[in-house]
Protein backbone atom coordinates (compact mmCIF):
# COMPACT_ATOMS: atom_id res chain seq x y z
CA UNK A 1 0.00 0.00 0.00
CA UNK A 2 1.47 3.29 -1.10
CA UNK A 3 0.21 6.87 -0.80
CA UNK A 4 1.41 10.35 -1.54
CA UNK A 5 1.66 11.98 1.88
CA UNK A 6 0.66 15.60 2.40
CA UNK A 7 1.61 16.67 5.94
CA UNK A 8 0.56 20.34 5.67
CA UNK A 9 2.06 23.33 7.48
CA UNK A 10 0.74 22.63 10.98
CA UNK A 11 2.34 19.19 11.06
CA UNK A 12 5.72 20.85 10.65
CA UNK A 13 5.18 23.12 13.65
CA UNK A 14 2.41 23.09 16.26
CA UNK A 15 1.16 19.68 15.13
CA UNK A 16 4.56 18.05 14.96
CA UNK A 17 3.60 15.12 17.22
CA UNK A 18 0.86 14.20 14.75
CA UNK A 19 3.44 14.01 11.97
CA UNK A 20 5.86 11.94 14.07
CA UNK A 21 3.25 9.47 15.26
CA UNK A 22 1.51 9.22 11.87
CA UNK A 23 4.71 8.27 10.10
CA UNK A 24 5.63 5.80 12.81
CA UNK A 25 2.36 3.87 12.84
CA UNK A 26 1.95 3.93 9.06
CA UNK A 27 5.36 2.34 8.72
CA UNK A 28 4.55 -0.16 11.45
CA UNK A 29 1.47 -1.20 9.46
CA UNK A 30 3.42 -1.47 6.22
CA UNK A 31 1.86 1.58 4.57
CA UNK A 32 4.34 3.46 2.45
CA UNK A 33 3.97 7.26 2.65
CA UNK A 34 5.83 9.24 0.02
CA UNK A 35 5.88 12.92 0.97
CA UNK A 36 4.71 15.11 -1.93
CA UNK A 37 7.78 16.78 -3.30
CA UNK A 38 8.00 20.51 -2.53
CA UNK A 39 4.37 20.70 -1.39
CA UNK A 40 2.79 24.08 -0.66
CA UNK A 41 0.21 25.30 1.87
CA UNK A 42 -3.41 24.36 1.06
CA UNK A 43 -4.52 27.93 1.82
CA UNK A 44 -6.70 26.84 4.76
CA UNK A 45 -9.76 28.98 5.43
CA UNK A 46 -7.88 32.21 4.75
CA UNK A 47 -7.83 31.40 1.04
CA UNK A 48 -11.47 30.49 0.59
CA UNK A 49 -12.54 33.51 2.58
CA UNK A 50 -10.59 35.68 0.16
CA UNK A 51 -10.69 34.25 -3.32
CA UNK A 52 -12.43 31.13 -4.53
CA UNK A 53 -9.95 30.37 -7.31
CA UNK A 54 -7.03 30.66 -4.92
CA UNK A 55 -8.73 28.17 -2.61
CA UNK A 56 -9.01 25.67 -5.46
CA UNK A 57 -5.59 26.27 -6.98
CA UNK A 58 -3.34 26.05 -3.91
CA UNK A 59 -4.37 22.44 -3.12
CA UNK A 60 -4.43 21.61 -6.85
CA UNK A 61 -0.69 22.08 -7.27
CA UNK A 62 -0.07 19.40 -4.62
CA UNK A 63 -2.68 17.05 -6.03
CA UNK A 64 -1.24 17.45 -9.53
CA UNK A 65 2.24 16.49 -8.32
CA UNK A 66 0.80 13.34 -6.71
CA UNK A 67 -1.23 12.60 -9.83
CA UNK A 68 1.94 12.68 -11.94
CA UNK A 69 3.25 9.89 -9.73
CA UNK A 70 0.00 7.98 -10.07
CA UNK A 71 -0.66 8.07 -6.34
CA UNK A 72 -3.72 8.59 -4.18
CA UNK A 73 -3.16 11.13 -1.43
CA UNK A 74 -3.23 10.55 2.34
CA UNK A 75 -3.78 13.70 4.43
CA UNK A 76 -3.51 13.68 8.24
CA UNK A 77 -4.81 17.24 8.80
CA UNK A 78 -8.61 17.42 8.68
CA UNK A 79 -8.55 21.00 7.41
CA UNK A 80 -6.09 20.33 4.58
CA UNK A 81 -8.05 17.16 3.74
CA UNK A 82 -11.21 19.24 3.39
CA UNK A 83 -9.57 21.77 1.06
CA UNK A 84 -8.07 18.99 -1.09
CA UNK A 85 -11.46 17.29 -1.39
CA UNK A 86 -13.08 20.58 -2.40
CA UNK A 87 -10.60 20.97 -5.22
CA UNK A 88 -10.90 17.35 -6.29
CA UNK A 89 -14.71 17.56 -6.38
CA UNK A 90 -14.81 20.89 -8.20
CA UNK A 91 -12.36 19.72 -10.87
CA UNK A 92 -14.22 16.44 -11.38
CA UNK A 93 -17.61 18.15 -11.62
CA UNK A 94 -16.80 20.85 -14.13
CA UNK A 95 -14.50 20.89 -17.12
CA UNK A 96 -14.60 24.68 -17.10
CA UNK A 97 -13.32 24.76 -13.52
CA UNK A 98 -10.69 22.20 -14.47
CA UNK A 99 -9.46 24.38 -17.29
CA UNK A 100 -9.30 27.43 -15.01
CA UNK A 101 -7.43 25.55 -12.31
CA UNK A 102 -4.91 24.10 -14.76
CA UNK A 103 -4.34 27.55 -16.20
CA UNK A 104 -3.70 29.03 -12.75
CA UNK A 105 -1.33 26.30 -11.55
CA UNK A 106 0.35 25.95 -14.97
CA UNK A 107 0.11 22.18 -14.66
CA UNK A 108 -2.21 19.48 -15.89
CA UNK A 109 -4.57 18.15 -13.22
CA UNK A 110 -7.45 15.79 -13.98
CA UNK A 111 -8.30 14.51 -10.49
CA UNK A 112 -7.78 10.91 -11.52
CA UNK A 113 -6.30 10.27 -8.07
CA UNK A 114 -8.31 10.42 -4.84
CA UNK A 115 -7.61 12.11 -1.53
CA UNK A 116 -8.27 10.25 1.72
CA UNK A 117 -7.82 11.40 5.27
CA UNK A 118 -5.31 9.41 7.28
CA UNK A 119 -7.94 8.01 9.64
CA UNK A 120 -9.79 6.56 6.65
CA UNK A 121 -6.57 5.07 5.23
CA UNK A 122 -5.48 3.46 8.47
CA UNK A 123 -8.82 2.19 9.72
CA UNK A 124 -10.70 1.38 6.51
CA UNK A 125 -7.98 0.65 3.96
CA UNK A 126 -5.59 -1.15 6.30
CA UNK A 127 -8.44 -2.53 8.39
CA UNK A 128 -9.16 -2.66 12.11
CA UNK A 129 -8.46 -6.43 12.24
CA UNK A 130 -4.94 -5.85 10.95
CA UNK A 131 -4.49 -3.08 13.50
CA UNK A 132 -5.88 -5.21 16.34
CA UNK A 133 -3.37 -7.93 15.47
CA UNK A 134 -0.53 -5.44 16.07
CA UNK A 135 -1.71 -4.40 19.53
CA UNK A 136 0.70 -5.44 22.26
CA UNK A 137 -0.35 -2.98 24.96
CA UNK A 138 -4.14 -2.75 24.78
CA UNK A 139 -5.69 0.50 26.05
CA UNK A 140 -7.71 -1.43 28.62
CA UNK A 141 -9.91 0.79 30.74
CA UNK A 142 -9.09 3.98 28.84
CA UNK A 143 -12.31 5.85 28.11
CA UNK A 144 -11.88 7.96 25.01
CA UNK A 145 -14.15 10.67 23.63
CA UNK A 146 -13.47 10.48 19.90
CA UNK A 147 -13.63 14.02 18.56
CA UNK A 148 -14.02 14.38 14.79
CA UNK A 149 -14.76 18.07 14.57
CA UNK A 150 -16.12 19.67 11.41
CA UNK A 151 -13.93 19.22 8.42
CA UNK A 152 -13.35 15.47 8.45
CA UNK A 153 -17.02 14.71 7.86
CA UNK A 154 -18.62 17.88 6.48
CA UNK A 155 -19.98 18.62 4.00
CA UNK A 156 -20.50 14.90 3.28
CA UNK A 157 -20.91 15.52 -0.46
CA UNK A 158 -17.31 16.69 -0.48
CA UNK A 159 -15.59 14.68 2.25
CA UNK A 160 -17.20 11.35 1.29
CA UNK A 161 -16.28 9.94 4.65
CA UNK A 162 -18.34 8.37 7.42
CA UNK A 163 -21.58 9.74 8.87
CA UNK A 164 -21.68 13.55 9.25
CA UNK A 165 -23.69 13.48 12.48
CA UNK A 166 -22.42 10.36 14.20
CA UNK A 167 -19.15 9.17 12.67
CA UNK A 168 -17.78 5.92 14.09
CA UNK A 169 -14.43 5.29 12.36
CA UNK A 170 -12.30 6.52 15.26
CA UNK A 171 -14.59 4.81 17.77
CA UNK A 172 -14.03 1.51 15.98
CA UNK A 173 -10.30 2.17 16.03
CA UNK A 174 -10.25 2.81 19.78
CA UNK A 175 -12.13 -0.43 20.29
CA UNK A 176 -9.61 -2.29 18.13
CA UNK A 177 -6.86 -0.84 20.32
CA UNK A 178 -8.53 -2.30 23.41
CA UNK A 179 -9.89 1.01 24.70
CA UNK A 180 -13.45 2.12 25.35
CA UNK A 181 -14.97 4.81 23.12
CA UNK A 182 -17.61 6.75 25.04
CA UNK A 183 -20.93 7.74 23.53
CA UNK A 184 -21.23 11.50 23.56
CA UNK A 185 -23.03 14.28 21.77
CA UNK A 186 -20.22 16.67 20.80
CA UNK A 187 -18.06 14.57 18.49
CA UNK A 188 -18.78 16.77 15.48
CA UNK A 189 -19.35 20.13 17.19
CA UNK A 190 -17.01 22.92 16.10
CA UNK A 191 -14.01 23.71 18.38
CA UNK A 192 -14.02 27.36 17.36
CA UNK A 193 -11.19 26.96 14.84
CA UNK A 194 -9.24 30.19 14.35
CA UNK A 195 -11.51 32.11 16.72
CA UNK A 196 -9.46 30.88 19.68
CA UNK A 197 -6.74 33.26 18.51
CA UNK A 198 -8.77 36.11 17.09
CA UNK A 199 -11.99 35.92 19.08
CA UNK A 200 -11.54 33.99 22.35
CA UNK A 201 -14.88 35.22 23.71
CA UNK A 202 -16.54 33.18 20.96
CA UNK A 203 -14.24 30.16 20.92
CA UNK A 204 -13.94 29.51 24.65
CA UNK A 205 -17.61 28.73 25.30
CA UNK A 206 -17.48 26.34 22.33
CA UNK A 207 -14.47 24.56 23.80
CA UNK A 208 -16.06 24.47 27.21
CA UNK A 209 -19.14 22.73 25.86
CA UNK A 210 -16.91 20.04 24.35
CA UNK A 211 -14.95 19.43 27.57
CA UNK A 212 -18.15 19.48 29.59
CA UNK A 213 -19.89 16.94 27.42
CA UNK A 214 -16.87 14.63 27.21
CA UNK A 215 -16.49 14.68 30.97
CA UNK A 216 -20.19 14.09 31.57
CA UNK A 217 -20.00 11.07 29.26
CA UNK A 218 -17.30 9.64 31.50
CA UNK A 219 -14.33 10.19 29.18
CA UNK A 220 -10.77 10.25 30.54
CA UNK A 221 -9.37 11.90 27.45
CA UNK A 222 -10.08 13.17 23.94
CA UNK A 223 -8.80 11.86 20.63
CA UNK A 224 -8.57 13.98 17.47
CA UNK A 225 -7.50 13.81 13.83
CA UNK A 226 -6.84 17.52 13.32
CA UNK A 227 -3.90 19.70 14.39
CA UNK A 228 -6.05 22.80 14.82
CA UNK A 229 -8.63 20.99 16.96
CA UNK A 230 -5.77 19.50 18.95
CA UNK A 231 -4.12 22.86 19.54
CA UNK A 232 -7.39 24.40 20.67
CA UNK A 233 -8.41 21.50 22.89
CA UNK A 234 -4.96 21.03 24.43
CA UNK A 235 -3.46 24.52 24.69
CA UNK A 236 -6.64 26.36 25.73
CA UNK A 237 -7.73 23.92 28.40
CA UNK A 238 -6.01 25.80 31.21
CA UNK A 239 -7.77 29.03 30.22
CA UNK A 240 -11.24 27.60 29.76
CA UNK A 241 -12.78 27.28 33.17
CA UNK A 242 -15.45 24.78 33.98
CA UNK A 243 -18.84 25.95 35.20
CA UNK A 244 -17.83 25.56 38.84
CA UNK A 245 -14.74 27.73 38.35
CA UNK A 246 -12.38 24.76 38.35
CA UNK A 247 -10.46 23.61 35.32
CA UNK A 248 -10.62 20.50 33.20
CA UNK A 249 -7.94 17.87 33.04
CA UNK A 250 -8.64 15.95 29.89
CA UNK A 251 -5.49 14.88 28.05
CA UNK A 252 -5.80 15.15 24.29
CA UNK A 253 -4.28 12.63 21.89
CA UNK A 254 -3.95 12.30 18.18
CA UNK A 255 -5.49 8.96 17.22
CA UNK A 256 -2.09 7.99 15.82
CA UNK A 257 -0.54 8.46 19.27
CA UNK A 258 -3.07 6.08 20.80
CA UNK A 259 -2.23 3.61 18.04
CA UNK A 260 1.48 4.05 18.76
CA UNK A 261 1.06 3.42 22.49
CA UNK A 262 -0.91 0.24 21.90
CA UNK A 263 1.67 -0.95 19.39
CA UNK A 264 4.37 -0.66 22.01
CA UNK A 265 6.00 2.69 21.27
CA UNK A 266 7.07 4.92 24.17
CA UNK A 267 5.13 8.16 24.77
CA UNK A 268 8.26 10.18 24.07
CA UNK A 269 8.71 8.60 20.64
CA UNK A 270 5.17 9.73 19.88
CA UNK A 271 5.82 13.34 20.90
CA UNK A 272 3.72 13.19 24.05
CA UNK A 273 6.18 15.31 26.04
CA UNK A 274 5.05 18.20 23.87
CA UNK A 275 1.45 18.35 25.09
CA UNK A 276 0.16 21.16 27.30
CA UNK A 277 -2.10 18.81 29.26
CA UNK A 278 0.32 16.15 30.43
CA UNK A 279 -1.11 12.73 29.59
CA UNK A 280 1.41 10.70 31.61
CA UNK A 281 -0.55 10.55 34.86
CA UNK A 282 -3.57 9.17 33.05
CA UNK A 283 -1.57 6.58 31.12
CA UNK A 284 0.08 5.57 34.35
CA UNK A 285 -3.18 5.37 36.28
CA UNK A 286 -4.62 3.10 33.59
CA UNK A 287 -1.36 1.20 33.52
CA UNK A 288 -1.49 0.92 29.74
CA UNK A 289 2.23 1.48 29.18
CA UNK A 290 3.09 -1.99 30.43
CA UNK A 291 2.52 -5.36 28.92
CA UNK A 292 -0.83 -6.81 30.05
CA UNK A 293 0.89 -9.68 31.88
CA UNK A 294 2.88 -7.29 34.07
CA UNK A 295 0.11 -4.81 34.78
CA UNK A 296 -0.99 -4.00 38.30
CA UNK A 297 -3.78 -6.17 39.54
CA UNK A 298 -7.03 -4.37 40.09
CA UNK A 299 -8.10 -4.34 43.70
Amino acid sequence: MKYAYYPGCSLESTGIEYNISAKLVAKHLGVEMVEIDDWNCCGASAAHLTNHMLALALPARNLAIAEQQGLDVAVPCAACFNRMKHTETAVRESSATRADVCHVIEMDYRATNTTYNLLDVLVNKVGSEVIAAKVVKPLTGLKVACYYGCLLVRPPKVTQFDDPENPMTMDRLVKALGGTPVQWAYKVECCGAGHSTTKPSVAFPMLQAIYQNAQAAGADCLATACPLCFLNLDMRQAEVKSGQGGSYNLPVFYFTQLMGISMGYAPKELGMAKHFVNPMALLDAKDVLRHPTTRREEA
Partner: protein
Amino acid sequence: MDYLDLSAALAGAERFLHHVEQESGVHVSECYQCGKCSAGCPVAFAMDYTPRQVIRLLQLGMREEVLNCRTIWLCASCQTCYTRCPRAVDLPRLMEAVRIEAKRAGIVPEKHINLFNDLFLKSVAKNGRVHEMGLILQYNLLSMQPLKDAFKAPKLFLDGKISPIPHKIKNQAAVQRIFERSMAHGGESR
Protein backbone atom coordinates in the same frame (compact mmCIF):
# COMPACT_ATOMS: atom_id res chain seq x y z
CA MET B 1 -45.03 53.74 12.44
CA ASP B 2 -41.71 52.94 10.80
CA TYR B 3 -41.93 50.99 7.64
CA LEU B 4 -39.53 49.88 4.98
CA ASP B 5 -40.16 50.29 1.29
CA LEU B 6 -39.19 46.78 0.27
CA SER B 7 -39.69 47.16 -3.46
CA ALA B 8 -37.33 50.15 -3.62
CA ALA B 9 -34.73 48.36 -1.51
CA LEU B 10 -35.01 45.31 -3.71
CA ALA B 11 -34.52 47.22 -6.92
CA GLY B 12 -31.37 48.91 -5.64
CA ALA B 13 -29.91 45.70 -4.33
CA GLU B 14 -30.59 43.58 -7.37
CA ARG B 15 -27.12 43.86 -8.81
CA PHE B 16 -25.52 43.15 -5.49
CA LEU B 17 -27.65 40.07 -4.98
CA HIS B 18 -26.95 38.81 -8.47
CA HIS B 19 -23.23 39.19 -7.89
CA VAL B 20 -23.29 37.40 -4.55
CA GLU B 21 -25.37 34.57 -6.00
CA GLN B 22 -22.96 34.18 -8.85
CA GLU B 23 -19.89 34.18 -6.62
CA SER B 24 -21.37 31.67 -4.20
CA GLY B 25 -23.44 29.55 -6.55
CA VAL B 26 -26.31 29.85 -4.04
CA HIS B 27 -29.81 31.02 -4.96
CA VAL B 28 -31.25 32.70 -1.90
CA SER B 29 -34.80 32.04 -3.08
CA GLU B 30 -34.23 28.35 -2.42
CA CYS B 31 -34.29 28.93 1.33
CA TYR B 32 -37.76 28.47 2.82
CA GLN B 33 -36.82 29.94 6.21
CA CYS B 34 -37.26 26.81 8.31
CA GLY B 35 -34.50 27.90 10.71
CA LYS B 36 -32.73 24.57 10.97
CA CYS B 37 -29.44 26.33 10.15
CA SER B 38 -29.74 28.69 13.11
CA ALA B 39 -30.81 25.91 15.46
CA GLY B 40 -27.62 23.96 14.88
CA CYS B 41 -25.16 26.81 14.41
CA PRO B 42 -22.50 26.62 17.16
CA VAL B 43 -21.70 30.33 16.80
CA ALA B 44 -25.29 31.63 16.76
CA PHE B 45 -24.96 32.72 20.40
CA ALA B 46 -22.41 35.35 19.38
CA MET B 47 -23.99 36.55 16.13
CA ASP B 48 -25.98 39.74 15.58
CA TYR B 49 -28.17 38.04 12.94
CA THR B 50 -28.73 34.29 12.95
CA PRO B 51 -27.80 32.42 9.76
CA ARG B 52 -31.47 32.20 8.77
CA GLN B 53 -31.84 35.95 9.22
CA VAL B 54 -28.83 36.61 6.99
CA ILE B 55 -30.56 34.75 4.18
CA ARG B 56 -33.78 36.60 4.89
CA LEU B 57 -32.00 39.94 4.64
CA LEU B 58 -30.61 38.85 1.28
CA GLN B 59 -34.03 37.68 0.08
CA LEU B 60 -35.41 41.09 1.00
CA GLY B 61 -32.54 42.84 -0.74
CA MET B 62 -31.35 44.59 2.41
CA ARG B 63 -27.81 45.12 1.19
CA GLU B 64 -26.54 47.54 3.85
CA GLU B 65 -27.73 45.37 6.74
CA VAL B 66 -26.06 42.28 5.33
CA LEU B 67 -22.81 44.01 4.48
CA ASN B 68 -22.58 45.49 7.97
CA CYS B 69 -23.48 42.42 9.99
CA ARG B 70 -20.94 40.62 12.16
CA THR B 71 -22.35 37.20 11.41
CA ILE B 72 -20.53 36.96 8.09
CA TRP B 73 -17.26 37.40 9.99
CA LEU B 74 -18.10 35.13 12.89
CA CYS B 75 -19.24 32.16 10.81
CA ALA B 76 -16.61 29.49 11.45
CA SER B 77 -17.35 27.67 8.18
CA CYS B 78 -18.12 24.59 10.25
CA GLN B 79 -20.54 23.35 7.56
CA THR B 80 -23.19 22.21 10.05
CA CYS B 81 -25.94 24.32 8.51
CA TYR B 82 -25.10 23.27 4.96
CA THR B 83 -25.02 19.60 5.98
CA ARG B 84 -28.44 19.83 7.64
CA CYS B 85 -30.29 22.26 5.38
CA PRO B 86 -33.28 20.52 3.78
CA ARG B 87 -32.82 22.77 0.74
CA ALA B 88 -29.06 22.20 0.49
CA VAL B 89 -28.36 25.92 0.77
CA ASP B 90 -24.60 26.41 0.99
CA LEU B 91 -24.74 29.06 3.68
CA PRO B 92 -21.03 29.15 4.57
CA ARG B 93 -20.25 29.75 0.93
CA LEU B 94 -22.83 32.51 0.83
CA MET B 95 -21.37 34.13 3.97
CA GLU B 96 -17.95 34.04 2.34
CA ALA B 97 -19.19 35.75 -0.79
CA VAL B 98 -20.90 38.51 1.21
CA ARG B 99 -17.82 38.93 3.33
CA ILE B 100 -15.60 39.37 0.29
CA GLU B 101 -18.04 42.06 -0.88
CA ALA B 102 -18.04 43.72 2.54
CA LYS B 103 -14.27 43.81 2.49
CA ARG B 104 -14.29 45.33 -0.98
CA ALA B 105 -16.63 48.00 0.32
CA GLY B 106 -14.24 48.65 3.21
CA ILE B 107 -16.63 47.32 5.87
CA VAL B 108 -14.59 45.28 8.33
CA PRO B 109 -16.24 45.15 11.76
CA GLU B 110 -14.09 42.24 12.95
CA LYS B 111 -10.62 43.70 12.47
CA HIS B 112 -8.69 40.94 14.23
CA ILE B 113 -10.22 38.11 12.23
CA ASN B 114 -9.55 39.97 9.01
CA LEU B 115 -5.99 40.82 10.00
CA PHE B 116 -5.20 37.21 10.87
CA ASN B 117 -6.44 35.96 7.49
CA ASP B 118 -4.51 38.60 5.58
CA LEU B 119 -1.29 37.83 7.42
CA PHE B 120 -1.82 34.11 6.90
CA LEU B 121 -2.08 34.53 3.14
CA LYS B 122 0.88 36.90 3.05
CA SER B 123 2.95 34.26 4.76
CA VAL B 124 1.87 31.63 2.23
CA ALA B 125 2.49 33.92 -0.74
CA LYS B 126 5.95 34.72 0.58
CA ASN B 127 7.12 31.25 1.62
CA GLY B 128 4.83 28.78 -0.11
CA ARG B 129 3.93 27.51 3.36
CA VAL B 130 2.62 29.31 6.38
CA HIS B 131 5.21 30.25 8.98
CA GLU B 132 3.29 29.87 12.22
CA MET B 133 5.68 31.70 14.52
CA GLY B 134 6.07 34.68 12.20
CA LEU B 135 2.32 34.76 11.73
CA ILE B 136 1.57 34.81 15.44
CA LEU B 137 4.20 37.41 16.24
CA GLN B 138 3.01 39.70 13.47
CA TYR B 139 -0.60 39.18 14.42
CA ASN B 140 0.08 40.02 18.06
CA LEU B 141 1.99 43.14 17.16
CA LEU B 142 -0.45 44.44 14.60
CA SER B 143 -3.51 43.65 16.70
CA MET B 144 -1.84 45.56 19.58
CA GLN B 145 -1.72 42.66 21.99
CA PRO B 146 2.01 41.90 21.96
CA LEU B 147 1.86 39.65 25.00
CA LYS B 148 -1.07 37.53 23.89
CA ASP B 149 -0.32 33.88 24.71
CA ALA B 150 3.25 34.93 25.58
CA PHE B 151 3.45 32.43 28.43
CA LYS B 152 2.89 29.62 25.95
CA ALA B 153 5.66 30.65 23.58
CA PRO B 154 8.64 29.26 25.55
CA LYS B 155 7.05 25.81 25.71
CA LEU B 156 6.13 25.80 22.02
CA PHE B 157 9.63 26.95 21.19
CA LEU B 158 11.47 24.40 23.35
CA ASP B 159 9.27 21.58 22.10
CA GLY B 160 10.37 22.44 18.56
CA LYS B 161 6.82 23.37 17.65
CA ILE B 162 7.54 26.89 16.51
CA SER B 163 10.68 27.98 14.76
CA PRO B 164 12.06 31.46 14.10
CA ILE B 165 13.00 30.42 10.56
CA PRO B 166 10.30 30.11 7.92
CA HIS B 167 10.10 26.99 5.81
CA LYS B 168 10.49 28.14 2.23
CA ILE B 169 9.58 25.78 -0.58
CA LYS B 170 11.91 25.42 -3.57
CA ASN B 171 9.45 26.48 -6.22
CA GLN B 172 8.12 29.46 -4.35
CA ALA B 173 7.77 31.27 -7.67
CA ALA B 174 5.06 28.80 -8.70
CA VAL B 175 3.02 29.66 -5.62
CA GLN B 176 3.55 33.35 -6.19
CA ARG B 177 2.14 32.94 -9.70
CA ILE B 178 -0.85 30.99 -8.35
CA PHE B 179 -1.65 34.01 -6.20
CA GLU B 180 -1.27 36.45 -9.08
CA ARG B 181 -3.32 34.41 -11.52
CA SER B 182 -6.07 33.66 -8.98
CA MET B 183 -6.45 37.32 -8.13
CA ALA B 184 -6.53 38.19 -11.82
CA HIS B 185 -9.17 35.49 -12.35
CA GLY B 186 -11.41 37.18 -9.82
CA GLY B 187 -12.47 34.03 -8.04
CA GLU B 188 -16.01 33.56 -9.37
CA SER B 189 -17.21 30.00 -9.57
CA ARG B 190 -18.61 28.67 -12.76
